[in-house]
Amino acid sequence: MKTETDQSQNIDMPEQVERALVERIDKDRIELPVLPQVAGRVMALANDPSADAARLSALIHQDQALAAHILRVANSPAYMPRTPIMSLQHAVAMLGVNQLSEIAVTISLKSSAIQVPGYEADIQQLWRHALASGAYAKEIARLRRYNVESAYLCGLLHAVGKPVVLKAITTIATELHIPLTPSVVLAFLDSYHSRIGIMIAAEWSLPSQVAEAIAYYWVYEQAPSHRHEAMMTCLADRLATYILVPDSFNDSTLREHSVFTDLNLYPDDIDTLLSLKEKVLNLVDTMAQ
């Protein structure tokens, strides 16, 4: 499965599946994700007296759903922050490590994994893409001196809707006995993940930067308030695809995208970002294990 929107254009999606999907979205019958990838490890770590906060923080950082859940909980009336908590670091600073562990364990206990039988590899690929996007978003933010923490979350969570769409359409297709080809699946993900992502962002009360990145990263010029975050996410998504799916497009196609000029990245800046490929891949390999 590819993760690049360009390649899913002009694919006909089965009408019945699409109709059923839209109906479920409209009627709020979409099951939103509650799977922290590292939930089990967080639980184990939280129960380990020798575990330290650094390991917990690092674990939480690896999981987009858990990270978002923690932000949601940290921003909930139960903790009554004066202003929205924007990042895990902020959450650690505001709540303290113990409380954060508590939240993480609570979420872990309540969560159930999104599992899509037959699509385990695709889910893993989406996860790797999210990690690579987060890592690249940080590097872009560093280069342009934008906020690094929110950039990471934007990159990590920008396609948070994709696993949900995948689960929904495969469930619907199974119910309707309609086979789905990989290209059709891809078309569904690309067409609907932002819409679902916006629902998740609203449900979880994600920071406005992240919500806008999810909604507008592929049409960043329309982002009403956080255009920089949307642009960085667009580029991070593109770079993640480039390094994870080598046959997606070549170097010159990659550089043609207007997001580079819109972020005022000169050719040598692009070279700098591309030179980070191994670093990002190592990070993805480490975190995705």
Partner: protein
């Protein structure tokens, strides 16, 4: 974009220095082009420096006033404000300033190129656009005004996330609870006092025993007192052994004497570095100084007569006001126009409280003259200072040993950067100390401090005369 385009003047960089150079050239009827690497004009001053930091400062001052009013108005200031809330007006301010500067360039018929410039020879410049296209330009006069960027010491791991520099400090979304500031210069002192006023626990660490070494010591003491009253701490005479992010929530700073400071964030403000690397100066034969600056003479002219250097890249004072003047003067010199006379560059430091200086200060005057007379006016003894609740202001007038002529003025306190211009004009026109006594100032104003300080000098002068007569 293959043919070579010729201009009378090409200015590289559109910050305060470049902009004024270009406008001076255009006003003189010359065909001028500006090459700017960023999509908008204005340079770091507009987007990462002066304008954003002063916008944040203004919010901090407003909050401070609200806090001080809270006893009578029962107002509460949220303890954990987001930086974006404090910077809400920034986009508007930056856009207005950028639009104004763009209009000024356009109105004067100046061609603006968006790209990076590099020298192919001492008269050929290649411009690379952001999408990789190239254009070659030539010019009779070339003004380099590429500015500077924060210096990044190799032993401090600036990640722009936890350990920030002055370019990335304002990318913070929320106010940290604590901030360690490395450095004791203008940028360090300004940000330290702004964040302290916003309720952040700020610690300045520097090698020097006091910040702002180039400034009058008495004024700096007043500033440090105000900073410490706001909850800040100045840790002077200290060298940093190690800085690291602990991986969880704190930046750990270890000093040579073993003290360890932990803070949510760190600002590294240990000077600035000229933006010269991308210019390929070797193609011109020009070299940089040991400190990485471009060497120029008093007309901002480099060793190659038709190439000028202006602004931060030629070294101190690194002030936008000085940069503008350098830009104007450089082009005047290149075109053989009179550069005009100035009484010197006023220094304005936008700490809380503000500090400003013109002419020579007390220490410099004492090394040059015997028996200088210094007049002082404290803002808490001025009606306007009392009314406005400004208790930490001080204006110093430095007079020659006769007590008749003004040598310099230094001020600390709100309004200092505005008030200093009275002293500047007085110096420009060689005004006597008595002229401050004989002229009427609006009442109540802080400018009245000049009159009070002048009276102080007159009083000391009379005592000295009486003593000499006896």
């Amino acid at each position: 974009m293959s043919t070579v385009i010729h201009y009378d003047i090409v200015v590289i960089g559109s910050g305060p220095a470049g902009q004024k150079a270009a406008i001076q050239g255009a006003k003189a009827g010359k065909h001028v082009a500006v090459i700017e690497r960023e999509p908008a004009v204005g340079g770091s001053c507009v987007y990462r420096g002066t304008i954003p930091s002063k916008t944040l400062r203004e919010s901090a001052l407003q909050l401070d006033r609200m806090k001080r009013s809270s006893t009578t108005l029962d107002m509460q200031v949220p303890p954990n404000l987001m930086v974006s809330t404090l910077m809400r007006r920034l986009d508007e301010v930056v856009k207005s300033h950028g639009d104004y500067m763009m209009n000024q360039l356009t109105r004067n018929g100046i061609t603006l190129f968006h790209g990076r410039a590099k020298f192919l020879s001492d008269s050929l410049i290649e411009m690379l656009t952001v999408d990789g296209m190239k254009q070659t330009l030539t010019a009779d006069t070339i003004v380099i005004a590429t500015g500077s960027r924060p210096r990044a010491p190799i032993d401090i791991p600036i990640d722009h996330e936890h350990i920030l520099d002055s370019d990335s400090i304002l990318s913070m979304i929320y106010l940290p609870r604590s901030l360690t500031v490395l450095g004791g210069g203008i940028i360090a002192s300004e940000y330290a006092s702004i964040f302290a006023a916003l309720g952040v626990q700020v610690t300045i660490i520097d090698r020097a025993d006091r910040p702002l070494q180039f400034f009058d010591a008495e004024l700096v003491r007043t500033f440090v007192q105000s900073f410490e009253q706001a909850g800040g701490r100045y840790c002077g005479g200290q060298a940093v052994r190690d800085v690291r992010w602990d991986g969880i929530s704190q930046v750990m700073t270890t000093l040579q004497d073993g003290q360890v400071f932990a803070s949510d964030k760190m600002l590294v403000a240990l000077g600035r570095q000229a933006n010269l690397e991308d210019l390929n100066l070797s193609a011109t034969g020009l070299t940089v100084t040991e400190k990485g600056a471009l060497a120029v003479n008093e007309h901002c002219q480099t060793a190659i007569p038709h190439i000028y250097g202006v602004g931060d890249l030629i070294g101190p004072p690194g002030l936008a006001s000085a940069a503008m003047e350098q830009g104007r003067r450089a082009v005047c010199h290149a075109l053989g126009l009179p550069e005009g006379h100035s009484s010197g560059i006023p220094i304005g430091v936008y700490t809380i409280p503000e500090m400003a200086s013109i002419g020579i200060d007390e220490a410099a005057a004492r090394t040059r003259y015997r028996g200088v007379i210094v007049g002082r006016a404290r803002f808490n003894e001025i009606a306007r200072g009392q009314i406005s609740g400004i208790h930490n202001g001080l204006l110093k007038m430095v007079a020659d040993p006769t007590g008749e002529y003004l040598l310099g003025v230094q001020i600390v306190g709100e309004g200092a950067t505005e008030l200093i211009h009275v002293g500047q004009m007085a110096l420009q026109h060689a005004a006597t100390i008595d002229s401050f006594v004989e002229n009427i100032f609006n009442f109540p104003t802080l400018a009245e401090s000049y009159r009070v300080a002048a009276f102080d000098i007159v009083g000391q002068r009379q005592k000295r005369l009486a003593s000499n007569a006896a």
